[in-house]
Every structure is written in C-alpha cells, then in structure tokens.
Symmetry: C2
Subunit: 293 residues, 2 copies
C-alpha cells in the first residue's frame, strides 16, 4: 500500500459527516488543502473558523477539475443534482465518493450522470453518527472503530476503490464491501427501521392526549431509547424516500411483529409472550457482547 497523499479534497456538504471526515484527515496531514462547498455561506464560514476546512467555495463546479478527491456528503436526495453539476465539468481525473446512508440511488445517479467508461466513482457509507447534526458537531474521532461499507459499481476501478478504502481506514474505520442492493436491504432493517421506529414513537407521544404528563413520567431509559429520534429530520426524510421499498417492507414486518405481541397480550398467553421478550433479550445480549469484543 503506497503512502496516501491527496493534494486537494473537495467536500460538498460540510455538516457532521463531511466535517468529521475533514477534521480527521487534517489531523493526519494526508491532505494538502480541503475545500468546502455547500448552500449556506454562514455554515461554510463557521467550518473555516472551526478549522474543519481550509477555504470554501460557493461555486463548487469550478473546483472539480483541481480536486483529486470529491466527497459528497449532502442529504441523499441532493446527490443526483450534485452529480449532474459535477458531470458538466472535467471530473475524469478525480475520484468521486459519497457518504450517503442509501447506496442504490447513489450508484444509479452516478451511472446516469458520469461516463460509462469513468472508473473513479466509489460509493461508501460510514455507519457512524451522532444525534447532533451540523458542522459544529463534527469531531475527528467520529469514525474511529466504526464500520464503513464500500459498495463498488461498474464505475469503480480498483485504484479508486483502494484510495477510498485507504481514506476511510486512515480515519479509523473498519472497511468492508458489498453490493449496493445488499447494503440497502440490510441497513433498511439494521438502521433505517430503528430510526423510524424511534421517530414514530416520540412523534406518537408528542401527539398523545396526555403528552406532557407522559414526557414528565418518562425515565432515563426513554431518553436513551429515543436518542436516535434527535437525528437530522432532513437526512432521514431523504433516506426514507430513497430506500422506500426496503423501508416499507421492514416497517410492515415490524408492525406484524407488534401485532403478534398484541395478540399474545390480549389472549393472556404469558408463556408465548415471555418467549418473544426472551428471544429479544437473549439476542441483544449475545450480539452486544460480540459487538463490544
């Protein structure tokens, strides 16, 4: 593995994800210059003030040609538009990657906009986050010890894959690969479903006829449980719409499971109900032990 050096990194969308990536790479000294781009000048000025990026542009297409790596970390639904703008520039010598939580639509957008013989596109998904969003929440250790999934496609050359892998490994991530379809299917259950379950629960309590009393009685468990419902609503709107089929399938499967629980409770089937709860406890305890090993 040759030493990784990047002359210019362009980060489009400097929030928690892009900002944390930039901060980690700056601390390592791998990149000579990090240029930020985004819709809000105020946010970009803050990113410079916080030392997250070296400078910013309000017109990122002008930076495409000179950027060795272009990192797109906007909400997922903006990816198509960003790729369309990149595609009008001379992007062929740049590696283009992203950090979206859904990969099928990102790979499709790349195939739609970038030349079929371009081999610098590598989609990726860092499985890391915090309930706080925005560049102010960015931290250089966000990815340390966390997983990043790379989902290579027809436009992913070996060199580009290797560079993206090295970038993520350099910021501390454990990198693995799978195809975008498999990725979207698995994270719809492991990540998207839990987030919508949590958002749905807090929304339900917020609209409850005795909402304030319920929140007043909620214990620390409730706030731990619902931490992921404080995630960025725009990001999760985009994820939900971008992976709609998988997510709807998982939500329906989950509702079906809740209806089994209702059925056992209403029939007073203590043994079957306890078995459902027990499978949950045993599974969580087992996989948590694996995960923290």
């Amino acid at each position: 593995m040759s030493e990784l050096k990047v002359d210019q990194l362009l980060i489009i969308g400097v929030g928690l994800i892009g900002g944390s990536f930039a901060l980690a790479l700056r601390e390592l000294g791998i990149v000579r210059e990090i240029v930020g781009a985004g819709r809000s000048r105020e946010n970009l000025e803050k990113a410079v003030a916080l030392g997250v990026i070296d400078r910013y542009t309000e017109n990122f297409p002008t930076e495409v040609e000179n950027s060795n790596v272009i990192f797109v970390s906007t909400p997922v639904l903006a990816t198509d538009r960003v790729f369309a703008m990149i595609a009008k520039e001379n992007y062929r010598h740049s590696i283009i990657t992203d950090a979206g939580s859904v990969k099928g639509c990102v790979v499709s957008a790349a195939e739609k906009h970038f030349s079929s013989d371009y081999c610098g596109f590598v989609a990726a998904h860092p499985i890391a986050g915090r309930e706080n969003s925005g560049v102010g929440a960015a931290t250089g250790d966000l990815y340390a010890g966390k997983r990043t999934i790379i989902t290579p496609s027809n436009q992913s050359g070996d060199d580009a894959i290797e560079t993206v892998r090295q970038l993520w490994e350099s910021v501390g991530a454990q990198v693995s690969q799978m195809d975008a379809f498999t990725h979207d299917e698995l994270v719809s259950a492991s990540s998207h479903l839990p987030h919508l379950v949590a958002f749905g629960l807090v929304n339900y309590i917020a609209n409850h006829s005795r909402s304030q009393e319920c929140f007043d009685l909620a214990a620390s468990g409730f706030y731990d449980f619902t931490r992921i419902a404080s995630s960025d609503p725009t990001m999760w709107r985009d994820i939900s719409l971008s992976n709609a089929d998988d997510i709807i399938r998982e939500l329906k499967g989950y509702i079906n499971n809740l209806e089994k629980i209702i059925s056992q409770i209403s029939q007073g089937n203590g043994d079957q109900l306890q078995e459902i709860l027990n499978v949950a406890k045993v599974s969580r305890d087992y996989y948590l032990a694996q995960w923290t090993k």
Copy 2:
C-alpha cells in the same frame, strides 16, 4: 417530620428493585434488620453474601407479624398470591407496600385480601431500572434523583403514606402521588409502550431472514436504542398482562402512527414526512432539556 426508624423490614422478592431498596436503606442505617424472602435459596444466600439483607427466610408468613414494613418486589403477577399469604397472618400493625410497575391490579389485590378497615397499604412505583436484573445488579444509588409514584387507595392511611414517602425520599427518590388508574394510563404510554416497541424490534431483527448480517451491521445507536430490550422478560410479561387494556390501546395507537409514516413514504410526501420526524426531534430535545435541568 419525625425521624424515620424501622425495626424490621421484610423484602419479598430480592432482585434488582428490592435489593437496591435494601442496600440504600442499609447504607443510611434507618433499618435495624432487613429480612429477605423469595423462591430461590441460592439467590437469598447471594443477597446475604453481598450484604444486601441481614438474613433470609424461606417461609415469609412467619415474619409478617414482626415486620414493621413489608416491601413486595416480586414480578407483578405474583403480588396477588403474596398478598393472599400475608392476609392469613397478623399484618394489621405492618405497613405493606410494593414496587410494581402496574398499580391498578396491585390495589385491587390489596382490596381483595386485606381487611377493608386496614389502613397500612400503600402502593408505589419507583421509575428506575437497569437492563441487568437480579440481586447482583442491585445498587444503593438506583433511586437517587429518580421519581417514585405513590398511588394511595382506600386502605392507605395518612401515617402509612407518610412513612412510605419518607422511605423513598430517604433513598433519594422524588416522590409524587396520583391515583392508580391515572398512573397505569400514563405509564402504559411513557414506559410500557417503549419497552414493548424495543422488545418487538429486537425480536423482529432476531427472526429476520438476514438476522446475523443485520446485527453485524448495527451501530452503537442500535444497541443504545435497544438497551431496554435487555430488561427482565418475566417482569415485562407480568406488566404486559397486568396492564393489558392500556398497553394494547397504546400499541395500536403507535402502529397507527407507523402506518401514517408508511403512507407518507409510499406517496413520496417529503414535506409531511419531514414534519413527522421534526415534531419528534423537537419534542425530544425540548423534554430532554427539561428533564436534565
């Protein structure tokens, strides 16, 4: 408020809840002797070895007459049987209290078994817990800063209420009062629903066709989110069956809310979907700030 002193405290069910109550009171020196009772001699011997109780009995009815306070911290469905056994002894000079998460059925059991002119029964619910159960998880600070709800009934005399209040305040709890019906209605939404949502989610993933891959991909957020699904299945079976009507109503309301989310996703209604997620985020952030103040 006179100084609180208890000569003999009988704890029936020495697990996390009863054990933590005992440990906190022992550290304060308020009780001369704490006697533990339960079905498992092994557990009771462990409780003595851990310094949680002074001694144990395998035949608690013999201790009723000499116990100033009888604290029932068994799973909720065992309460009726325990009360029936207490009622055969001379319990009239004892204060009887409990720590169940459902209060309507406990108050009913007391009315069924204890004399109508008995005024020493005070139902209570400490809103505290850990995902670990059993006396080995007991800790003297479990109740510090947590809420305990007292639900007085026709058998709750003022002196008994005051003593139970003082006991809980002495172990650090913030005590408030409401009737058992209101309590059960509110906690079915604030506590029982979240627990079943979490158990149901982990059970769903455990039975998923790609279960292991899903758990492997789950991030720290998933394990935080599902911490309450590691709670004691027997305890939650009993809570579910004891508060069935309230819990089924809340589960159905919650499912209805998830179906609204499915509908917005399937119709591609980004704005309405974002509004649902946003109400959740804003509510949680607001109440968490109130709660941690």
